[in-house]
């Protein structure tokens, strides 16, 4: 049998890939601050991953009229920081910043993905909430109620979803069916 060592290199490579993903996620969840954001869900399906809710936030589009120069800058750097402020229960947008804000304020780093009919779309990696197969419908019964998302945000502004809240209660699925 040739290639004896190559198979171990493959195993090592795969373990590395997994470790990097897990490590990166753990970094955010252990060192991150919990922030609650208000959200609007829609219900598409992910071709790979079954049912999920597509979550939209106030900070998902830059509706503020930007000057042409600012717009060009944002589209070129593909990065934007949404600085947040707390308003009784949840956080809302304070302003967008093209430079990294100082550490005293809470902010999320977003990726700028294209310019759609004069609105700049921003993704924060918290746009999908996966639910067990067939449970997406169950969630639809809650449409109309206020929905929030608990998000971990670390010092670098990286975000990861902790849980989905309906009203102020974390969402639970009946898994016995």
């Amino acid at each position: 049998m040739k290639n004896k060592y190559l198979i171990w290199i493959v195993v090592l490579l795969w373990i590395t890939v997994l470790s990097v993903i897990i490590f990166k996620h753990n970094e955010i969840t252990t060192h991150g601050k919990i922030v609650i954001l208000k959200t609007e869900p829609v219900d598409p399906r992910d071709p790979f991953r079954g049912d999920y809710l597509n979550l939209q936030y106030d900070i998902s589009t830059i509706a503020d009229p930007l000057t042409e120069i600012q717009k060009k800058e944002v589209l070129q750097s593909r990065k934007i920081y949404a600085v947040l402020k707390k308003e009784d229960y949840y956080y809302v947008l304070d302003h967008f910043s093209t430079t990294k804000p100082n550490k005293n304020v809470t902010y999320i780093r977003g990726g700028v993905w294209g310019d759609l009919s004069n609105m700049i779309r921003v993704q924060y990696n918290i746009e999908s909430y996966f639910v067990p197969e067939g449970k997406g419908i169950e969630l639809q019964t809650h449409l109309g109620k206020d929905m929030f998302v608990e998000v971990y945000v670390d010092e670098m502004g990286e975000a990861a979803i902790k849980t989905l809240l309906i009203g102020k209660e974390p969402v639970k699925f009946d898994t016995n069916q």
Partner: protein, 571 residues
């Protein structure tokens, strides 16, 4: 169990079994009438008549034996499809039942499973004692699929936004690339390539930029490193064929010019005429993509296509490449056709575009026979085959036929309004093809040298276009027309595929046999999906299908060994 589920299982078993019977029949058919059998018979005759001695007998036989061993494609395909089904089933199983298992447990389970299949596949493929290369290859492929399921699961568990699917596919595709190269697995190579390609599309959709680069990055090294000429031809064709999807068909036709440049550079570097031919084909696709949005049309008018065409034409005259000249002449005709008929509304009707492509494919297939050089025929075959096949596939869907019957879209043969020039030229092309068809008919009758395959396919595809045009005009019930057309298109597609298999067999083109078998499988699976997709639990459906096919594959490989062994024994 619900009645629907029972029907689902029944239909799936029926389709699977018909496929199995077909496969076995095909193997025996191919086996029984293989050229080697004929050769053996002749050799024995020569030996008995003492034209050759035993030594020459052995030598000649030895010369042809290994080739024949390689050329039993159905087993490989069945194993591959089985692996794919099993893999997809496992992915879906994991994706849809995650509520029953804890996150960490599931992650560990899938990861261990991927490693186990990797090791088993590896040891089966490379075992010194008793290698099972095809089964081993299949399992290696499954392991890369389960590995993908692991990453998918991890992303799902961490609620990673699906906007990041491009990272998912990138990680998956890149991490299996070494497996493909080190363990010499073509199927994993193509999976890896496909995933990287998908990653490109996902990213392109997010950033709204063209994603052609990923495709080129994937294929160019493969083209340059591959030594087998035939193996280079297939990726080249795929490259050319996938480009329309990849460059978002209507918007970025200009990237064909980039492709042309690349092919020309490789041509001048490697000095192989094949690249010049593919360069010419890129020009062809460039012209085709300008159906809906001609590049630079707003600046230099619709005649820009003349420039790349003239450049390649010059090189072709200079290098005296007859095949490329043929392609370019076609390009010129098609170019004229497209430029004359250009109308922004044409792009909205998929059928209009499809029909043009259909006719072009037919022209390629028909003129293939006038090319004398055997290898040069190949690009013609590839382009002709796919340009025929893809529209035929598109038209076999009920929903698409339904769309064509939309009263807003169907104009029939009415020769007025803004579509008039387009209609007239369609008819001219139709007449040309019809003329060629009649010529072929004449040649068939007079010389008996015509090819029955092209003869029938030309007739059927013409009928298909005429039916699409004329049936909606007759005052029949819409439902009847819809079902009739769907039925006809499916029957046509099936006939096309089966005829191609037999034709390719007659012409000893293994690649075409393989390709057609894969297409046949895709066709069966597609229709299977249409029927039972909603009826049966998806993961169960895939896993069952996968296991059955893998089982059959193993059985067939044993059978093959036995057949090869027996013959060896007889000899």
């Amino acid at each position: 169990m619900e009645a629907a589920a029972i029907i689902g299982i029944f239909v799936s078993l029926l389709i699977l079994s018909s496929f199995i019977v077909g496969g076995i029949f095909l193997i025996f058919f191919l086996k029984k009438s293989s050229h080697r059998m004929w050769l053996l018979k002749e050799l024995t005759l020569w030996k008995n008549k003492q034209i050759i001695d035993s030594e020459s007998f052995d030598k000649i036989q030895e010369m042809y034996t290994p080739k024949q061993k390689e050329s039993i494609p159905p087993i490989k395909i069945i194993i591959s499809i089985g692996s794919i089904l099993l893999g997809i089933g496992l992915i879906l199983f994991i994706a849809s039942n995650w509520q029953f298992l804890s996150g960490q447990f599931k992650l560990l389970l899938t990861f261990i499973l991927s490693l186990v299949t990797l090791f088993i596949g590896y040891s089966l493929k490379f075992s010194k004692r008793r290698p099972y290369p095809i089964l081993g290859e299949g399992l290696l492929f499954v392991s890369t699929l389960i590995w993908g399921a692991t990453i998918i699961f991890l992303f799902q568990n961490y609620q990673v936004s699906s906007a990041n699917n491009y990272i998912l596919t990138l990680l998956w595709g890149a991490s299996i690339f070494p497996v493909a190269i080190w363990f010499k697995s073509e199927s994993i190579f193509y999976l890896s390539f496909f995933l990287l390609f998908l990653s490109g599309i996902f990213r392109g959709n997010l950033t709204e930029t063209p994603v052609y680069l990923y495709l080129l990055i994937g294929f160019i090294p493969f083209l340059l490193t591959s030594r087998d000429k035939k193996r280079k031809v297939i990726p080249c064709s795929i490259l050319a064929m996938l480009m329309p999807i990849f460059t978002r068909f209507e918007t970025y036709g200009i990237y064909y010019l980039l492709l042309l440049t690349i092919f020309l550079v490789i041509y001048f570097w490697k000095k192989e005429e094949m690249y010049l031919i593919f360069g010419s084909i890129s020009v062809f696709f460039y012209i085709l993509t300008s159906i809906t949005k001609p590049f630079l049309a707003q600046f230099v008018g619709h005649w820009f296509f003349i420039l790349p065409l003239a450049l390649v034409l010059y090189i072709v005259f200079w290098k005296k490449s007859v095949s490329s000249l043929f392609i370019l002449l076609f390009n010129f005709v098609i170019g004229l056709l497209v430029q004359f008929t250009y109308n922004a509304d044409v792009g909205k009707n998929v059928i209009s575009v499809v029909k043009i492509i259909f006719l072009i494919g037919l022209l390629y297939l028909l003129f293939e026979r006038y090319i004398k050089d055997k290898i040069m025929k190949l690009p013609f075959m590839v382009v002709g085959y796919f340009t025929m096949l893809i529209p035929a596939f598109v038209l076999s869907f009920y929903e698409i036929i339904q769309e064509t019957l939309d009263p807003k879209i169907v104009y029939g043969f009415l020769l007025y309004g803004k579509f008039a020039p387009y209609r007239i030229l369609s008819i001219i092309v139709l007449v040309i093809v019809l003329g060629t068809f009649c010529l072929r008919l004449l040649s068939k009758i007079t010389k008996e040298s015509g090819d029955i395959f092209l003869f029938i396919i030309s007739g059927l595809s013409l009928l298909s276009i005429l039916l699409l045009e004329l049936l909606p005009l007759l005052k029949l019930s819409n439902n009847f027309v819809l079902w009739f057309l769907t039925f006809y298109q499916n029957a046509f597609l099936l006939t096309f595929i089966l005829f191609t298999i037999f034709w390719a067999y007659k012409k000893c083109m293994n690649w075409l046999i393989n390709m057609s078998l894969v297409v046949f499988l895709i066709f069966v699976i597609m229709r299977y999906f249409d029927v039972v997709w909603k009826l049966l639990d998806r993961s169960l459906f895939f896993i069952l299908g996968g296991i059955i096919l893998l089982g059959i594959g193993t059985f067939m490989e044993k059978l093959r060994r036995k057949l090869v062994g027996d013959e060896h024994h007889e000899e």
